[in-house]
């Protein structure tokens, strides 16, 4: 457990297991049935607590939710990725096609 104490009122993310594998619905595929249904939600921390402890938060809609404290000010990690060389020439190819055919845009 991380010793750093997150202060009450901080913006945090919590996690909990909604359904254990044994509790999954009958109609889910085998691979899904072998893993739990997990949930993450963010809100303001109700009391000082370290990462990894069981806490209560108040969400944006003022709901009280309990779970394991996983992070403070969680970052957005999605990006535009790398450039894709297979796509770089698409415009050039189409412009060439249009002029070769003598089409007017």
């Amino acid at each position: 457990m991380d010793e750093k104490i997150i202060k009450k009122g901080s913006w945090v993310q919590i996690h909990y297991i909604v359904l254990q594998p044994s509790e999954r619905a009958d109609n889910v595929p085998q691979d899904t049935k072998q893993v739990p249904l997990e949930l993450w939600v963010k809100g303001y921390l109700d009391n000082d607590a370290p990462i990894g402890s069981n806490v209560t938060i108040t969400t944006m809609t003022d709901r009280k939710v309990q779970g394991t404290l996983v992070s403070q000010n969680p970052p957005y990690t999605h990006t535009f990725g790398r450039q894709i060389p297979e796509l770089l020439s698409v415009g050039k190819e189409l412009h060439a096609l249009i002029s070769k055919a003598g089409e007017k845009a």
Partner: protein
């Protein structure tokens, strides 16, 4: 399941009725039928009223853009005299970046009128963003429930972006791993909060899209002096197609062909933890398009107002690689950076325009915003680097969804593939029997009449297809 979920699932009908306030039983008819037009009429909004409600939150009247370079490219590939003019309705200019704002506007207006304190939507896509945006404009609280992570806590980049935008609009975002039990968590939240269910499939949510069809008719008439010959619509849950087709009908476009287009992801199971991130499209694909066409009443409302087969003249599929190619083409020769998922209909239209005459008009019915996570480069980087999916140029016909993504070697390889509508109609009939627990011999003439209307067929055709 566990005791909390079991008790919620048992009270499903009661919870949904309270969360939407519509009694669907009044529209039920004897046998398998229900009064669809009666239900749509009962929403109590005329097209003018919908327009004025949508204007209150700055929705609609989006630009209709002529894609002159893409038309020229299609003509360069088409036979003599062929190559219709391609137009696109730039729905990305709605407040939350997609046509879904039209739907969300009606759900949030309804919730506000009925005095609900908030709204809840189960959406991993643009609809979540649209509800979050519209809810804050109407001073409603919003919870968006997303299916986002696989069991290794790897999130689909597009859905990560949707989570971010929902939070940017002030919503609470509840994020889950893969599984259809999301619906039970959605019900549990409705039960806990007494908020309104901002269903994608309520009569008013679908009516909200009618303005899109109506605007298309108006704009094409004023720009081209004719009705659109074809409107191509990305098809997933069927609402986009249903609402647009109804709007076109209301504008009197009786000869306009309504064409559905979906990305082919055959073989990737929707509820599979392992397959979840192997799809490079989170919507607009056959994983929604096929089941919803052939059994619309599988949703969070007793009777779905989105019934795509009722309005579909033709259904085509395109591949993931083809849509990525056309998304890049839209950016590089038309200067419009959009999508990619919303460009499914664009991809189909580029192929279909080549079958049509030069004086004809084909309309791509939507665009959607792009951004980190959503963008082509984000999706292809994720597929290639995180999942080891083989991304290459080649012939899209060699695609195996989840294994490879083949960017067409050239534009002549972008080819929409026809889906046999009769196959879909047969599946629809089988599903009707299954869901009603009956044999085909038990169908009455009134039942067959309903099936015919619900699949844009004649009674005779249904009898022939189904050997009745």
């Amino acid at each position: 399941m566990n005791s909390v979920f079991d008790s919620v699932a048992e009270r499903k009908n009661e919870i949904l009725k309270k969360a939407l306030g519509i009694d669907y039983s009044e529209f039920e008819l004897p046998g398998v039928a229900f009064d669809y037009e009666g239900m749509m009429g009962k929403i109590g909004y005329t097209l003018d009223e919908i327009r004025s409600i949508q204007a209150e939150t700055n929705i609609g009247n989006t630009p209709m853009l002529e894609l002159r370079n893409l038309t020229a490219a299609a003509r360069a590939l088409a036979g003599p005299g062929k190559g219709a003019r391609i137009f696109v309705k730039d729905e990305a200019t709605n407040p939350s970046g997609s046509f879904k704002a039209r739907r969300a506007a009606m759900s949030c207006h309804y919730a506000q009128q009925r005095g609900y304190a908030g709204v809840i939507a189960a959406s991993s896509g643009n609809y979540g963003a649209a509800v979050a945006s519209q809810a804050n404009m109407r001073n409603l609280k919003a919870i968006i429930v997303q299916e986002l992570f696989d069991s290794h806590h790897v999130g689909q980049p597009e859905i990560l972006e949707k989570g971010r935008i929902c939070e940017a609009f002030g919503a609470e975002v509840v994020q889950l791993t893969v599984g259809p039990e999301l619906f039970i968590e959605f019900l549990r939240l409705l039960d806990e909060t007494s908020y309104c269910s901002a269903s994608l499939y309520s009569p008013f949510a679908i009516a909200g899209i009618e303005t899109l069809g109506y605007e298309i008719a108006d704009q094409v008439r004023s720009m081209c002096n004719r009705d659109p010959d074809a409107v191509v619509i990305t098809n997933a849950g069927g609402g986009n197609l249903t609402g647009t087709a109804r709007g076109l009908e209301k504008a009197g476009c009786t000869n306009t062909k309504v064409i559905a287009a979906s990305v082919d992801i055959t073989g990737l199971h929707m509820a599979s933890d392992k397959a979840f991130n192997r799809k490079s499209f989170t919507t607009g694909h056959t994983g929604f398009g096929m089941p919803f066409s052939t059994w619309p009443d599988r949703t969070d409302v007793p009777r779905n107002a989105a019934r795509s087969l009722r309005y579909t003249d033709r259904y085509v599929t395109v591949t993931q690689g083809e849509v990525f190619y056309m998304t890049e083409a839209l950016a590089q020769i038309e200067g419009l950076e959009r999508g990619p998922a919303g460009n499914t209909s664009l991809t189909a239209a580029f192929s279909l325009a080549q079958e049509m005459d030069r004086d004809q008009v084909i309309v791509v019915q939507e665009t959607e915003y792009t951004g980190a996570g959503k963008h082509v480069t984000a999706q292809l980087s994720f597929a290639r680097e995180k999942l080891g999916i083989n991304v290459r140029r080649g012939n899209p016909k060699e695609q195996i969804p989840g294994e490879n993504i083949i960017i067409p070697e050239g534009p002549e390889l972008v080819k929409a593939q026809n889906v046999d509508l009769d196959d879909l109609k047969r599946s629809y009939c089988k599903n009707i029997l299954k869901m009603n627990n009956m044999s085909k011999e038990q169908l009455t003439e009134a039942d067959i009449q309903f099936i015919a209307e619900d699949t844009k067929s004649t009674k005779e055709h249904i009898k022939k297809l189904f050997v009745l």
